[in-house]
Every structure is written in C-alpha cells, then in structure tokens.
Amino acid sequence: MIEVRDLWKKYRRPHLKVTSLKEAVLAFLRGQTGYVEFWALEDITFAVSPGEAVGVIGPNGSGKSTLFALLARVLEPTRGSIKVEGRVCPLLELGTGFHPELCGRDNVYLNASLLGLSRDEVESRYQDIVGFAELPEVMDAPVKTYSSGMVVRLGFSVAVHMDPDVLLIDEVLSVGDEYFQHKSLDRLMQFKRAGKTIFVVSHDLNAVERLCERSFWIQAGRLVMDGPSPQVIQAYREAVDRQERGGGQASRCSR
C-alpha cells in the first residue's frame, strides 16, 4: 500500500557553479544566491494497492526519477506526505552499489545489506541470487572484470531476491540480453501475482504496457494522467506526435 498525498518537491539548481569557498564568498558579496529554485514535483497525489504494477512515463526531466528517490526515502519531500507499507527496494541502476575492486560475492553481501537484508538472510538466498544471475563461476572475480551485462544481471538478481514489498525499477528493463530480459520480465510477473507493488520508469512504452496495467504520465513535475496503461500511453504518444509536428523541443524548455 502506497499513499502519496499533496507531494511537492523543490529543487535548487545552481546557475553559477559554486564549488569553492572563494566563489561562495564572492557570490554572497555580490548579493547573488547562486541558485534558482523550481518545483521538480507539484501537487502529486495517488494511492497504489498491493499487487499493482504502475508504469511511470514522461519526457526527460519531468520528475520521474525524483518521484522514485522520494519513494525510496533518498530525498525528503518539501511538502506533503508519503506513506509506504513494507520494504521498498530500489533497483540500483547498473549495479551502482557495486565496487569494481571487490569480488562478486562481497558485492552481493554489500548490496543486499544496503537494501536492508541481514547477513543470515543474504546467506540463505545467496545460491538463488547467483543462480538467477547465472554467474556462479565468476563470483570470486572482481566486478571490474565483468561485462556490463553481467553487472546488471547480478544487480537485478540481488534486488528481486530482497523479497521487497515495493520494487522500484528505473530504466533498467532494457538491459541484459534478450534471454535475460524475458527471464526478468517473468520474474516481475511472478512478483505481481504474489501481491507486491512494482513501479517502473521506462521510455520503452511497449514494455510498460506489457507489465503494467496502470500508468502515470508525468510532465513538468505534474501528474498529467493516471489511468489504465493503454489509454495513458496512447494519450502520451499523441502528445509527443503533436510536439513533433509543432516544432520539436520547444515545449520541453517552456518551464
């Protein structure tokens, strides 16, 4: 169960690059604040029940990843509330939690503990994690020697074995080879049947339509449309078409 109510998130975007004390002092003396404030998310309200898979679509910079970061508690809302029941598990994109010098085994333990698993829990699932990623023979080699596909497979495998109540997947569906994509999609379907909640951010609208019966269309920080995936995706596609016909990128920069 996820309940998001009147969620607003303000960002500061530095318009001067202030990364040293000298620059900060100079900017302060000139009376410049050094940043512009803008709303990355405005007035978002929704509720999602267990067993639902929700696709989040929209153009770059519309606030999709910000929404995920808020759900994962990485960011704090400026206004409004987020209520999440159960364990939220963000799928760390491309194995961001992995350290290249460590071997696969150590990385699994580190990554899993970051996602909230105890040592015993990791131990009992370790074989399944390695088995699902199909990487048993390289687990003692440093991750820097893996191909990018192998890293993603391992990262995905760790995430789905967390037994999360809410899984956040940001733009990672299209990685791995064809075979692994099918396998992971199956896994996500299994999740849904088990009554878990899944959020998917993706620009692959077909994948969203296949996996999610419900979709959010987010544009310029606002929840433009919330409804059954086919309708939302169609409306989004039409909007993109209109934009293409009416002068390309113009509307994207209107904010």
């Binding site: 040293s20 970061a69 704090e76 939690g97 010098e101 970051l114």
Partner: protein, 319 residues
C-alpha cells in the same frame, strides 16, 4: 533514540563497508595489509633517524615515546582525512538507496580503529622485545582510544558534511592537520610546553604572549588528541603514573670532576626535577584536564552529528 535503532537495523551495511574499505585500500599492492603496519613504522623510523640519530635526542626511551604518541595521532588524522571523501565517494549509493548517512563517517572511523588495533599489536611486540614491562596499566589505552574516537567522530562528521558542498574543505583539513600534529606532544616531551616562558617581556607583543601563555597551555592540555596520547604514554610506559613528568637535567653532572661531586650533582638535579614536576602537577591537575577534554570531545561529537544530520538530508540533491 530512533536514530540508534535505525543505525542498529543497518549495522550490516556498516560491517560490509568497513570490510570493503579494508579490502580495497591495499588492493593491487604486493604487501597488501602489511602496509597498514609498514606505513606508521616507516614514519616513526624517519623521526627516529632525525631526532634520535641526527639531532641526538637524549630523552629516555625516545623511540617508545614516539610510538605511543603516534598511534592515537595516526588514528585521528587518518579518520579525519578519510572522512573528507567518505560521502562524496559513495555518492552513487547515497543517490539511490536509503540508509542512515552517519554510517559513512562511521565506516571510516571503524576501518581506522582496526588499523589502530593492528599497529598497537606491533607496538606491544616491540615493547616486549625491548623489555618494557607489560602490565595491567596497558588498559589505559582503552579510555584513551575511546576519547580520541569520540572526538574523531565529531570532527569527521563535520568535515564529511562540508566536503560534500565545498571541495576546499579537503585542502584546509590537510593543512590544519599538519599544524595540529605539532600542537600535540608526539615529537617533544610535554613539559617543554608546560615550562615554556617568555624571556624578558619588554615589548607589547611579548607582553601579550606572556599574558596569553597560561591560557594557551591550558588549551593545549584540553585537546582530546593530546590527552589521549598522554593516556597511551601513561599506560604503556609509566605504569599509570601522572603523565606530567620532568626529566633529569644531567648536563652539569656529566662535567663533574670527581665521582663524589657527580653523585652530589645527580642528587641535586633529581631533587630539582622532582620539585618542578610537583609544581607542574599541582598547577595542571591532570584529572581536571581529562574531564575537560572528555567534555570537549563529547560536545564536538554532538555538534558534528547534528550538523551532519541536518546537511545529510540534501546530500542526494547537491552532491
């Protein structure tokens, strides 16, 4: 309280990060973990060469004094240096996963505690070889380590948080640590500072220094790092004795003409040293300074933690 529960819940992360820090630091080096012992040994060897061999320091057990002072210093300085990068290095994690951010400076702290533990073992082995008496007073290193750890946590959290926003912090910290090192009694005996006097305070500047000197000396002794070193020295080398000591000045005795005169001069020097020592101990009641330094360490830790907590909310936005 809620923070502590949260930290406990994520203890595995801390454990794994410490393990990773230790594994990764000496990756791709042939001697591997031995560097954590060789590095301080080399450093001490350099000072030994400069101060003992070249400058001919006559202080008793100077090498042992060097080692006991250097152990807590190395721990403290390495902690603070590591903390400049502890958040920025893990930005990928900070931006993606929730965990109590205090785990990052804590992981630097615990990694260095483990290094300290190993270095300490080597020191004890050396002491046994040198026949320094190993006794129950060695336990004084425990409160000594605790004190410097609490203080290091406070400084580390501040440094870690500010480093996310300003890369200048790293350079400032490096320079300040270089100065701080000489403001602690690693290379020279403590009484040198406590007995410092301004000769003929005839001009304004000297007068001002003369006026400020007692306060400077008090501040010097309130430094948790210095107190921790004194704890180490007292425990490891002096059987728990008050660390304020005045060594004998045997200069005059050495030039004595006869054995009888020499014995007399030695007795005189000894009486003088004991008298000065007693005066210094009365003037600087060590227990008060230990309590003062502990309070300072605790206050620093709390302030550091609060600053870190406040700023850590926006780490993911600003990194």
């Amino acid at each position: 309280m809620r923070e502590l529960v949260e930290l406990w819940r994520f203890r595995e992360v801390l454990f794994n990060l410490v393990r990773r820090n230790l594994k990764v630091r000496y990756k791709n080096s042939v001697l591997g973990f031995f560097w954590s012992l060789l590095n301080p040994l080399m450093q001490i060897a350099v000072w030994w060469l400069v101060f003992k061999v070249i400058l001919g320091n006559e202080q008793k057990d100077y090498t042992a004094e060097l080692i006991t002072g250097f152990l807590p210093w190395l721990f403290f300085s390495q902690c603070v240096l590591d903390s400049t990068a502890c958040v920025t290095q893990e930005m990928a994690l900070v931006k993606k996963a929730y965990f109590p951010r205090a785990i990052l400076p804590l992981s630097a702290l615990f990694s260095n505690l483990i290094h300290l533990g190993f270095a300490f073992l080597v020191a004890v082995i050396l002491f046994i070889i040198w026949r320094v008496d190993v006794n129950v007073h060695y336990l004084l290193v425990i409160p000594g380590t605790l004190l410097v750890s609490v203080f290091a946590y406070g400084i580390s959290t501040m440094v870690a948080a500010w480093s996310v926003f300003y890369s200048d912090v790293k350079f400032i910290v490096g320079n300040l640590l270089g100065l701080w090192f000489f403001l602690t009694p690693v290379l020279y005996p403590l009484n040198l500072v406590l007995q410092k006097r301004v000769e003929d305070a005839d001009n304004l500047l000297k007068g001002m220094i003369n006026w400020a000197l007692p306060y400077i000396k008090s501040l010097y002794l309130l430094d948790p790092v210095a107190i921790s070193m004194l704890g180490y020295r007292s425990g490891l080398l002096r059987g728990g004795q008050n660390p304020i000591i005045v060594p004998l000045d045997l200069g005059p005795a050495e030039q004595a003409a006869s054995a009888a005169e020499k014995a007399h001069l030695i007795a005189q020097a000894e009486a003088q040293a004991r008298a000065t020592e007693a005066a210094l101990r009365a003037q600087y009641p060590i227990l008060h300074y230990v309590i003062g330094a502990s309070l300072i360490a605790l206050a620093t830790a709390i302030v550091g933690h609060l600053i870190f907590r406040r700023l850590s909310r926006v780490f993911a936005e600003r990194g």
